[in-house]
């Protein structure tokens, strides 16, 4: 009961409902009795909490009221959320429009500029690496002809005249099938091949593909001795950028074999030709049709041409194209005598000079008449 009276007193005291006399008495009591004083402080805090609680509670319900009222009025719109993209589109419509027109103008002007400044005849730059034997040489060698005629009587298979074009080819089947560049043999009346020892054989062209610059020859001479196993295989896969490569070929007219090395410098050929690679190597006319080997001694391509405007930029038909060529040959021919590509790679462990010693017997000079 006393407790209740105290509470009542405190509340009246805090609310200022006490008379002056009573207030004085109460304050006196507070001073004398720390317990009562503590009670007053505690209750003040509590009442403050109550008041705040009430205020906030009231405010909250008012706000909820307002919220539903405004929503009913339509001042607050809680539409189903539009797709973000639609909103973004609305927001940035103008920006997008401006950006698009700028992009358009830029694209058009760039194409105009590109059109105006590009050299018109791009393709003249592409010089095929066929060796052009000087006509003068013919005359100079006038006296030598007699000698050669004498020699021809001994070895009847050797052609009498000098070839129009010279290139390189390599065996893909020990039975006498060679791969060379299409441009070396495309205009030839007849084709002869000569091995590193200087033996001549007559060959026939059985396949030409100008696009991939691949031609396949077959040695017709009976004197040709089959090679039992070739020391390299033909790679089916695409090669990687930067791969070390080497080639063997006959750029010299005296039929001496020449070794060159370099690296794969781009995954595509001239003007982005996907049938070819770009390689960096030093090569000369006459290297056309030569095999491009990787480190392991697999054939990854066939040397085909160079870019006139740049030094050391060459192109190589991909070795895949050889497989394509063989498929097409198989489709066309009914002969049982199928070309079998070499499979094993015995060269992997050998060093370069040993590799070359094995390979050079399979690389031929191609002379087209």
């Amino acid at each position: 009961m006393e407790e209740l009276q105290l509470l009542d007193a405190i509340e009246r005291y805090l609310n200022g409902q006490m008379s002056a006399e009573e207030k004085q008495r109460f304050e006196q009591l507070r001073k004398e009795n720390p317990d009562v004083d503590q009670r007053v402080v505690e209750h003040t805090f509590f009442l403050h909490q109550m008041e705040q609680f009430g205020d906030i509670k009231n405010l909250k319900s008012t706000l909820n009221d307002i919220h539903s009222q405004l929503r009913a009025e339509g001042a607050i719109k809680e539409e189903k959320r539009k797709a973000t993209i639609v909103e973004l589109w609305k927001k940035y419509k103008r920006v997008v429009a401006v950006a698009a027109s700028i992009a358009g103008i830029t694209a058009i002007s760039i194409s105009v500029i590109a059109y105006l400044f590009t050299p018109k005849a791009n393709h003249s730059e592409y010089r095929q690496l066929a060796q052009r034997f000087a006509r003068l040489e013919n005359k100079q060698k006038g006296t030598e002809i007699e000698i050669s005629q004498l020699k021809n009587q001994i070895s009847t298979t050797k052609p009498k005249a000098d070839p129009k074009l010279g290139g390189t080819g390599f065996l893909i089947d020990g039975k006498g099938y060679l791969v060379t560049s299409a441009h070396v043999v495309v205009n030839a009346d007849s084709v002869y091949v000569q091995n590193v020892k200087g033996d001549y054989y007559k060959a026939s062209t059985i396949y030409i593909n100008k696009q991939s610059d691949i031609a396949i020859l077959k040695i017709e001479d009976n004197r040709f001795q089959f090679v039992k196993s070739l020391p390299y295989s033909i790679s089916k896969n695409n090669s990687d950028l930067g791969e070390e490569i080497f080639t063997l070929g006959y750029p010299r007219s005296n039929a001496e074999i020449v070794y060159n090395r370099g690296y794969l410098s781009a995954g595509t050929g001239y003007n982005g030709d996907t049938l070819a690679y770009q390689i960096a190597i030093s090569a000369n006319p006459g290297n056309s049709g030569g095999p491009i080997f990787n480190e392991a001694g697999d054939v990854i391509g066939v040397l085909s041409g160079k870019q006139e405007s740049a030094e050391g930029v060459f192109f190589s038909s991909r070795s895949k194209n050889i497989y394509t060529a063989l498929q097409e040959i198989r489709k066309d021919s009914t002969s049982e005598d199928r070309i079998k590509l070499p499979v094993t790679v015995p060269l992997r462990t050998l060093n370069r000079t040993q590799q070359i010693k094995r390979i050079e017997e399979c690389v031929f000079m191609v002379k087209s008449y």
């Binding site: 407790e3 209740l4 509470l7 009542d8 505690e42 209750h43 509590f46 009442l47 909490q49 109550m50 008041e51 705040q52 609680f53 009430g54 205020d55 906030i56 509670k57 009231n58 405010l59 909250k60 008012t62 706000l63 909820n64 009221d65 307002i66 919220h67 009222q69 405004l70 001042a75 607050i76 719109k77 809680e78 959320r81």
Partner: protein, 191 residues
Amino acid sequence: MKSEASEEIRLLQRLAQNDRQAAETIYRQHYNMVQSLVTNNNGSFDDARDIFQEAIIVLYQKAKSGSFELNCQLKTYLYSVCRRLWLKRLQQQQQYLPDMNGLADTVPVEEEIEAHSQRNAQFTMMEKAMLHLGEPCRSLLEAFYLQKKNMTEIASHFGYTNADNAKNQKYKCLMRLRKLFFAEYKNNNNV
């Protein structure tokens, strides 16, 4: 500009005096901004409402304390508070925090948020205590302390024979509530 600022101060004063009209005006002017802020940053419409109302409470308490000086536009202030509150809630949900900068200017409001979260805790404690109190004590106390009805009204409403009886009952209820509240309070402060 000057008149606009003084108008906003006037509005806040009215808010502090529990003027419904003032709250409605603020609601009308600024709710949609906050709604798009929240809904554009992984929030729902309910989240937007919660956040905005909390911000109004922050504003209300600041205005009520009397020490409040609005040294930026009300819009900027509300935006800043809501942004902060929403980021905090996302953080608590451990959600991915979107980059919420760049939409509008913000002013530092960390102190307010801190004070607000403390008051919020107290509010929850009182709410809990009230809940545990049970009827008819709760209604009695609410009628007196929250709805500010006088004792005679309460007596007739609750069916007490006279105001003094009602008053006695009220004090009994208050004592119980106090006990509950301070138990909760100690509990919370110890944890």
